[in-house]
């Protein structure tokens, strides 16, 4: 029988019992094999009960440190569903791992230690789950056995988190009193929590309705590659990012805006009349339109304009901080474009979750930025479309994945004052030295220009005072060779030696700029 597929992410800190909970789910769902079991029994403390956490702690380095250091994916199935579990570490320096696991999740499971209650990191995890657009949040109040299965404790934390998550925009938040080590309310309803009216965790995961907002969203088919065969077969291949597509439908190819009609759809080897996200398809069109990788097929009736400037939330994932003066690569659907993160509007304080002013983002920072892509992106808001609202930022030098981005506003249009004039500070930062205009004796001007240029300075000789001042405004070092200095700009005396002239210029460059 066909079953569907649920992806969920489990987040918790080192001591919340996250690995134990996942190990317990795998164990109870009989997803563990005898040889894994015997391996774990061997590795569990001698003679003690099974250490469920050992089922999921994969890498040697982790077992040595006793912590989970990277996202791991586990698989299990029940009669009702196939599950993919992203097991992510929860300590603050690994925000990027949680974002990774959360990006594709239908449900986010976060753990709260019943002895410690709601911690800053609990709020952090819930916020990040909401930011990544996970529809369902499941809060596991774990270690209830160590809190005597006391209902008031559970209710206190439940109330606190209901209040906190109310503004985060989850579709639903569900709570579970659990002991992962002893199995209460994981698979079977526990006799020790008669006051708990909900389902055990596994049953919830088996029955929770998988939200598929992508299906109802307008068609977006980003073209991955063009397939050619024989003399006249041209198919446009891609995974449908949202909506559906049917034979006979009129579509527009963006960014060109060319129109055509769908004549055939191949869905993994089958000719179909209609296909829905997330199927991978090959589409044939009635006309010989020019289509290539990175183009997007959209419904004719609602073509989307390109956005050259947009506001986005970024999760910074690289050791090298964000640098607003640098160019980055932005991979969005099947298009990779150059872009600049022109401005950091604010970032989130890790502890208080408040928005604080920031100049840049560092590893594991989350902030709102303005992204500029000169050639434009066919983006939607992430809240409306998790596929076309998402992008990654790649550092073009290290090639690392530097950030994950979620579009908040499209075409954050420059509204008058937002087009900030370029300041002398910015030019100085770009060029690496301050601007300067000065008059020099004609005899030494060529030598001086060469000398400064070879020191890596941006220097130019000009023919007039006006030109010198214009170049200075542009951030350059302008030399105006003239026997008749004027008071408007500094001058090098006609009697100065070459060394004295050079010394004077370097001294002027080192001096702070006049306000």
């Amino acid at each position: 029988m066909d079953v569907d597929l649920l992806r969920f992410v489990v987040v918790g800190s080192v001591d919340d019992g996250k690995s134990t909970l996942i190990g317990r789910l795998l164990y109870e769902a009989q997803a563990l094999h005898d040889d894994h079991l015997s391996q774990v029994k061997r590795a569990s403390k001698q003679g003690g009960p099974i250490d469920f956490s050992l089922f999921t702690d994969g890498l040697k380095a982790e077992r040595e440190q006793g912590i989970t250091i990277d996202v791991a994916y586990r698989h299990f199935a029940t009669a009702r569903r196939r599950f993919i579990v992203a097991d992510t570490p929860g300590h603050v320096q690994y925000t990027r791992n949680m974002a990774t696991g959360a990006s594709t999740a239908d449900v986010g499971v976060i753990l709260v230690d019943a002895r410690l209650g709601v911690l800053p990191q609990t709020r952090r995890h819930a916020s990040l789950a909401a930011l990544l657009g996970i529809p369902h949040l499941a809060v596991v109040i774990n270690k209830m056995d160590l809190a005597a299965f006391a209902e008031p404790i559970y209710r206190t934390f439940e109330k606190e988190l209901i209040d906190f998550t109310a503004k985060l925009g989850f579709y639903r938040v569900t709570f579970f009193p659990v002991s992962a080590t002893q199995g209460d309310n994981v698979v079977e309803k526990s006799a020790r929590t008669p006051w708990f009216e909900g389902k055990p965790l596994l049953e919830f995961l088996e029955t929770v309705e998988i939200a598929r907002p992508q299906e109802a969203a307008p068609l977006r088919l980003p073209v991955q590659t063009v397939i050619r065969s024989g003399l006249d077969f041209r198919g446009f291949a891609g995974a449908i990012a949202s909506g559906s597509l049917r034979v006979g439908q009129q579509v527009a190819v963006l960014p060109s805006g060319k129109k055509s009609k769908v004549t055939a759809i191949d869905a993994a080897g089958h000719q179909v009349m209609e296909a829905t996200t997330p199927r991978s398809v090959t589409v044939q069109l009635a006309d010989q339109v020019d289509v290539s990788r990175g183009d997007v097929l959209v419904p004719l009736e609602s073509p989307t304009p390109l956005s050259r400037r947009l506001d986005a939330m970024l999760v910074w994932m690289d050791e090298t901080p964000l640098d607003p003066s640098r160019e980055y690569l932005v991979k969005h659907t099947t298009r990779t474009a150059t872009g600049r993160i022109a401005r950091v509007q604010w970032k989130t304080n890790h502890e208080t979750l408040e928005q604080v002013p920031a100049e840049r983002l560092e590893l594991n920072d989350i902030g709102r930025v303005t992204l500029e892509c000169p050639r434009g992106l066919l983006a939607d808001r992430y809240a409306q479309n998790r596929a076309t609202g998402a992008f990654i930022v790649i550092d073009p030098l290290s090639r690392a994945t530097a950030a994950a981005g979620m579009v908040v506003e499209l075409d954050a249009a420059p509204q008058g004052e937002q087009l900030r004039p370029i300041t002398a500070d910015e030019r100085e930062a770009r060029l690496g030295h301050r601007a300067l205009a000065l008059s020099v004796p004609p005899a030494i001007a060529p030598w001086l220009e060469r000398e400064l240029f070879d020191r890596g300075l941006n220097v130019v000789s000009v023919a007039s005072l006006a030109a010198a001042l214009a170049c200075e405004r542009a951030g350059l070092i302008a030399l105006w060779p003239t026997p008749e200095p004027v008071p408007a700009i500094p001058a090098i005396d006609a009697k100065a030696s070459r060394d004295e002239a050079l010394g004077l210029v370097l001294k002027l460059l080192a001096a702070p700029r006049k306000a």
Binding site: R63, Y73, H75, V272, I392
Partner: protein, 300 residues
């Protein structure tokens, strides 16, 4: 259209991955091990580019110690399907006489599989190589990325793997670096068998039960596939009804006793099975964390 089943979702994801690699890399290659995962992966690749042919060749790293039936199947299948197949052997190691009996599974695997693979990738100047590995196979695989980054020496560093969000794969690499791409990352063994059944993909007959000559060695049933097999003192060749859950080099592949003779019977057997498939792979048991060590060295 009804809600997609889990196999349709996994299929759509795998095809998307295969197309991304073909579109983003200059010179990809698909590792072909002749096993069931390779069969599923090849079928997915055929679907990804139909009606065109695969835009990349298949590459078999041949240790010369595969089962005879595997070689026969490989040649027949690739010819029937019109697939371009490249075969690489580590001749240097073979000339030195490295074999699974005298050199132990660790040294043998390193020379003929890991080194053989790295040689082939370097010679072909491949910048991306597809592998059929799945995250459910082994603990260190569970953390593997779909685009797994390898340095200039083909080596894997768990700490240098790139975060992988949504279905946005970072394909940027420097010259000499490469990516191993795993389209079946999210598949389980059961998913693969169910897919092969649904798609009627042929597999090597060794997966089906038959009476075969085996010896019992270290608790495993090892098939006596040709005259190179060495018997230890006291070992008796027995005729048993067995099949293989995974296929590799015959002296290192443990058979299981089974009566499953069709894909459906294999699926039913698997659903009631309590042993993981890698148990039949002797090379994983060398030492605790051994797969992770092999991967760091460049193994798939």
């Amino acid at each position: 259209m009804s809600v997609a089943s889990h196999l349709e979702l996994l299929e759509a994801e795998a095809i998307h991955i295969i197309r991304e690699v073909a579109a983003e890399f200059a010179n990809p290659v698909m590792l072909y091990s002749i096993g069931k995962d390779s069969q599923a992966m090849v079928r997915l690749a055929q679907k990804a580019f139909a009606p065109a042919k695969l835009p990349f060749p298949l590459l078999h790293i041949d240790t010369t110690w595969k089962f005879r039936e595997m070689y026969a199947f490989r040649d027949r299948f690739t010819a029937e399907q019109g697939l371009e197949l490249k075969v690489h052997r580590n001749l240097e190691a073979l000339q030195k006489g490295i074999n699974p009996f005298d050199h132990g599974s660790q040294q043998y695997t390193h020379a003929l599989k890991t080194q053989g693979l790295l040689q082939a990738l370097a010679q072909g100047q491949y910048d991306a190589a597809f592998g059929g590995a799945r995250r459910d196979e082994e603990k260190s695989r569970a953390k593997e990325r779909i685009f797994s980054f390898r340095d200039r020496f083909g080596q894997w560093d768990p700490k240098r793997q790139r975060p992988e969000l949504w279905n946005l794969y970072n394909a940027k690499i420097a010259k000499g670096e490469s990516i191993r791409a795993f389209p079946l990352s999210n598949w389980t063994e059961l998913d693969v068998w169910e897919y092969l059944e649904r798609e009627k993909v042929p597999v090597v007959p060794l997966y089906f039960s038959a009476v075969r000559p085996v010896v019992v060695r270290d608790g495993q049933l090892i098939m006596v596939d040709d005259e190179r097999m060495r018997l230890a003192p006291g070992e008796q060749v027995q005729q048993r009804k067995v099949r293989f859950r995974t296929l590799g080099c015959y002296p290192l592949s443990g058979a299981i006793e089974s009566s499953a003779t069709s894909l459906r019977e294999i699926i039913d057997e698997l659903k009631s099975s309590r042993h993981s498939e890698r148990q039949g792979r002797l090379i994983d048991h060398d030492e605790e964390g051994s797969m992770e060590l092999k991967k760091r060295e460049g193994y798939f």
